[in-house]
């Protein structure tokens, strides 16, 4: 067991996979000599060289598209977008190309690419640098979407993503990079598509992931003295969704709240709620609820941003309203 930050854990995952597999290489802005704005690729260029840790121009469509082309001929590119918001300038390559090329080719090609980016708000970076795109990308058949909340999950899931052999959108959170956690030395793969019960509880199931997972855990601690024991499920993978773990949990709790930083409209929360009523309609004693960002762009001022993005206190309130 070693204590690593989320950024260090990701760095280890990249290093280990690059050592193990010569097909793995990295592309992105300032990931080489500078080691990444968020230090995730720190020092990798020293071990693997500028050929495999490639600094790119500000040409996201171009280098994501090149990652796809390299993947088509057997490489394992891991492409970094500096902010998930910039997936929008590469959206055609991600949604029309990476996600669809295999299908349109009748399975004769595959696109083993990982597209990494940090996302989310909380730092006052403004509407163009604070978005959360998992609900959008989960709509796209052909994409796997992963969003770890802890250093251990980050390392294990990034390693699995690089080996997945398919397009994976790997979502990091700008405010998790410096969070610390234990990472098993012999840490190996964490399976894609498997949620994790981060806290056991009998009274309500709170489903979340990424940064808000930690808010959910804080809320659970705050609720405990009030006699409400919340079970907190970390989705870890957004698509495919691990409904089994959720359904199993609500069998015991009969209450469900989904929390995410992404906007509520057509979000993962809505999807989980809809599936629960399809797959286990009579499992709940109170209607399922979801909590996401309010339907406005993300503002900069702290008073505004904290109001727009779900906070621990909002989760506590939402849970209490369900009893």
């Amino acid at each position: 067991m070693t204590i690593l930050t989320y950024a260090e854990a990701l760095n280890e995952a990249l290093r280990e996979e690059m050592r193990a597999d010569p097909r793995v290489f990295l592309m992105g802005e300032d990931i080489g000599h500078h080691g990444g704005i968020f230090r995730v690729t720190k020092d990798l260029i020293d071990e693997f060289g500028a050929e495999r840790v490639r600094d790119t121009p500000i040409s996201e469509s171009g280098f994501v598209g090149m990652g796809i082309g390299a993947a088509l001929v057997g490489m394992r590119p891991v492409v970094e977008l500096l902010f998930m918001d910039f997936a929008l300038v590469a959206a055609d390559q991600i949604v029309n190309q990476a996600a669809k090329l295999r299908y349109m080719a009748g399975g004769t090609v595959s696109v083993p690419i990982v597209i990494r980016a940090q996302q989310g708000g909380g730092r006052g970076n403004g509407a163009q640098h604070s978005q959360s795109f998992e609900s959008w990308l989960a709509q796209v058949p052909g994409l796997i979407v992963v969003a770890p909340s802890t250093p251990a999950d980050a390392k294990g899931l990034l390693k699995s993503s690089i080996r997945a052999g398919n397009p994976v959108i790997f979502i990091e959170h700008k405010l998790l990079y410096n969070t610390k956690g234990e990472v098993p030395a012999e840490q190996d793969l964490i399976p894609i598509g498997k949620a994790d019960v981060k806290r056991a509880g009998r009274d309500i199931t709170i489903v979340s992931y990424s940064r808000t997972l930690h808010f959910a855990l804080e809320a659970a601690e705050a609720l405990s003295p009030k006699g409400i024991e919340a079970e907190v499920i970390d989705l870890r993978t957004i698509e495919p969704l691990d409904m089994d773990t959720i359904l199993e949990s609500i069998k015991g709790t009969a209450r469900l709240l989904v929390v995410h930083e992404a906007h509520s409209n057509c979000g993962i929360g809505a999807e989980i709620v809809a599936r629960v009523y399809e797959q286990a309609p009579n499992s709940l004693v109170t209607p399922a609820r979801r909590l996401g960002a309010k339907h406005v762009p993300i503002p900069v001022a702290e008073s505004l941003e904290n109001f727009v993005l779900p906070q621990t206190a909002d989760i506590v309130r939402a849970v209490e309203a369900m009893f």
């Binding site: 040409s59 280098f63 598209g65 082309g69 001929v73 190309q97 080719a105 090609v109 058949p141 052909g142």
Partner: protein, 318 residues
């Protein structure tokens, strides 16, 4: 070295196969047997054959929705292509891709693309992979002259230039993008001059002359394999049919098209064959062979089964 006199008849047959493939599709389309849109490459066969014949089977290629010629010239099986057009399970994409997405990695065909310019970075990425894998294959991207106004075209050229990628960019300049004359939408009509501004080797060739096309690409490929980087080739050609089935073609005169027919690649190669001593009988034989190939493919495709609905769930992930 240039196409030998032995290869020219074969090139002629290949161009005829492409031409007759498109004619067969048009018939099927008119019979209502083809779904979706069909963008014929009639008149542009020399670009496809000249370029692809200068490549090795392990060289990679991406092309466009107007890519039947490119794909067949690179080696896509004619039966599989025909079956794909008819949405049959025996199609090159099992009926999932259709007219705009011919793909066959076995012959280096990484995929035709229905989004203008979107296949260019894929070829660039394959070229980058060749560098990383220390292999000597190259990659070639076909695209139309209208694609030069799309952002990813620009991003890809800069990346190809700074990384000296073993890449050949073949711009098929057929003067029109859809129903618009490209000089109205492109500030630099000679697109190869724009490419030169990235510091990329750039030239313009007669795309209706299969030998000129072959020679230009062969030289570019040699440079690419030698680590000398990317070449941009603007192949001047002409689309003899409409942009797609149903195009009223009001944007050009009958005279213009008639004139283009005199300069079209198959007519020209036919003349050339006679120059190098082929008899009418020799040429007729090549035509019969092409006919037979298409007839056989058509037979195969028509008699193939359609996919079972549940097949839709397959081929999403590896």
């Amino acid at each position: 070295m240039p196409l030998t006199h032995k290869q020219l008849p074969e090139a002629y047959r290949q161009m005829l196969v492409i031409r007759k493939f498109e004619e067969a599709i048009r018939n099927l389309y008119q019979q209502g047997k083809i779904r979706g849109s069909f963008h014929p490459c009639v008149g542009q066969e020399a670009v496809a054959v000249g370029a692809c014949w200068a490549l090795r089977p392990d060289d990679k290629m991406t092309c466009t929705y107007r890519g039947h010629g490119h794909a067949l010239a690179k080696g896509l099986n004619v039966r599989a292509a025909m079956a794909e057009m008819l949405g049959k399970v025996t199609g090159s994409s099992k009926g999932k891709g259709g007219s705009m997405h011919f793909t066959d990695p076995a012959v280096g065909l990484l995929g035709a693309n229905a989004v203008v310019a979107a296949g260019i970075p894929h070829a660039a990425g394959a070229a980058l992979a060749a560098q990383l894998q220390k292999k000597d294959y190259v990659a070639l991207a076909f695209f139309g002259e209208g694609a030069v106004n799309q952002g990813v075209f620009h991003e890809s050229l800069n990346l190809a230039a700074i990384w000296k990628l073993p890449l050949i960019l073949v711009c098929e300049n057929n003067l029109y993008s859809e129903m618009s004359p490209s000089h109205e939408t492109t500030s630099t009509v000679e697109t190869y001059k724009r490419a030169a501004a990235y510091g990329i080797e750039s030239l313009r060739v007669d795309g209706n002359d299969v030998e000129a096309m072959f020679n230009a690409v062969e030289a570019a490929v040699a440079n690419a394999r030698a680590g000398k980087g990317t070449t941009y080739i603007e192949a001047m050609t002409y689309r003899l049919w409409g942009h797609m089935m149903g195009d009223p073609e009001v944007y050009r005169t009958k005279e213009e098209v008639a004139q283009a027919r005199e300069n079209e690649p198959i007519v020209r190669l036919n003349k050339r064959l006679h120059e190098i001593g082929c008899s009418d009988a020799d040429v007729a034989k090549l035509e019969a062979e092409a006919e037979a190939i298409i007839a056989e493919a058509l037979e195969f495709a028509e008699s193939s089964a359609v996919p079972a609905p549940e097949d839709a769930f397959e081929d999403v992930f590896a």
